[in-house]
């Protein structure tokens, strides 16, 4: 049977949710793969094989299926598009490097970056180098080098669009209504440093240094990788340094 409408998608999703029936989810993924192919083709000719884009797009689709709330009142496909596109764009972002890196190390770095997120979810904490080495089946020294290589990526901006329309950005996902945002900012010892940052960088610094969230927690909240949080913090702190030096040493 070919699922031809949104109702059938919902039926499969309900079956998956009610019974945990993986076959129902797999069927749903299969039925919605033409959407992934269509979105992946939009990014053809930009230096990445379309097959790779389809693969990462499929990851986005599975995420969308797992997160979709039936009571949203929108089509699953409508909900899935920004997630799929976001995953494809993340792939491009992860493929951009600020320095020359050997291909083997690029590949390992990307694999290790994903393993950091996967193992963090499984373990409830960030993995150790040894755990990553075992999962990647490489030496610990290779993991250390791969992690450092990952930081050499060109960091994408938090204003990078994550939806198909290009209007929704990562910073939008943080939310404008941060509880106590202004209160946190007032009287903060890092206020001077924050003043010179772009809005997106200010927020991630606030989450880490004023709200005390860990990199992993920030990554989960923003739905970005821990490595990406690390890169953004690194860039923000580098930008803040000069201004902190000129600050008034607040309490």
């Amino acid at each position: 049977m070919i699922v031809a409408d949104g109702r059938a998608h919902i039926d499969l999703l309900e079956a998956y949710r009610a019974t945990g029936d993986r076959a129902a989810r797999d069927r749903l993924v299969e039925e919605m793969m033409p959407l992934v192919h269509s979105l992946a083709r939009r990014y053809a000719g930009r230096g990445e094989p379309v097959d790779d884009l389809v693969q990462v797009g499929a990851i986005g689709l599975i995420k969308a299926i797992d997160r979709f709330e039936l009571e949203r009142g929108v089509e699953l496909s409508t909900y899935a598009v920004p997630t799929i596109v976001g995953e494809i764009r993340r792939h491009f972002r992860d493929r951009s490097w600020s320095v020359h890196v050997p291909r083997r190390m690029k590949e390992l770095s990307l694999r290790v970056s994903r393993l950091v997120d996967d193992l963090s979810a499984d373990l409830g904490r960030a993995p150790t180098v040894a755990e990553l080495a075992e999962a990647a089946d490489v030496e610990e020294e290779d993991v250390v080098e791969a992690l450092e290589t990952a930081r050499a990526h060109t960091p994408a901006s938090l204003s990078t669009p994550v939806d198909a329309s290009g209007e929704l950005t990562l910073i939008d996902l943080i939310g404008e209504d941060e509880a106590g945002y202004e209160a946190l900012e007032r009287g903060s010892v890092v206020r001077t440093g924050l003043e010179g940052l772009e809005e997106r960088e200010r927020r991630i610094v606030i989450l880490r240094f004023l709200k005390g969230m860990t990199q992993s927690e920030i990554a989960t909240e923003l739905d970005i990788s821990q490595m990406h949080v690390s890169r953004l913090l690194r860039r923000a702190l580098a930008a803040m340094h000069g201004r902190i030096d000129e600050g008034d040493g607040m309490p």
Binding site: R125, T128, V144, F209, G242, D245, P251
Partner: protein, 116 residues
């Protein structure tokens, strides 16, 4: 038994990369989670622009349960810079200003907890 590692690198981006690799290796020996190792390296990178002259010196004591890293020589007033200290404090488990001769250094500590 405590191992001590001494390292001198250019006080710039290249130096920060080398430091991150070394700290990554040391953190691995202590079986520390990668995000904590990363934040130690981030703390070191944050201090790098405050180093006097063209070379950053790093001393690392590797204990069974903790990693102690001293970075210097720092520009005068760095160790009492409340804003900088606040940022670095958030990245590691302990920060102490120390003096070596006439120079200021900062000592950073990362402790291995039960959870890793």
């Amino acid at each position: 038994m405590t191992d001590t590692i001494l390292l001198t690198v250019p006080a710039g981006l290249r130096g920060a990369g080398v430091i991150a690799l070394v700290l990554g290796g040391l953190g691995s020996r202590l079986d520390l989670p990668v995000d904590r190792i990363d934040e130690l390296a981030l703390a070191a990178a944050t201090l790098a622009p405050s180093v006097q002259g063209d070379a950053l010196e790093l001393e690392a004591d590797v204990h069974e349960d903790r990693l102690v890293v001293r970075i210097g020589p720092l520009e005068d007033g760095t160790t009492s810079d409340a804003a900088l200290r606040r940022v670095v404090d958030a990245l590691v488990d302990g920060v102490v200003g120390v003096r070596k001769g006439d120079d200021e250094w900062l000592e950073l500590e990362l402790i291995r907890s039960e959870a890793g």
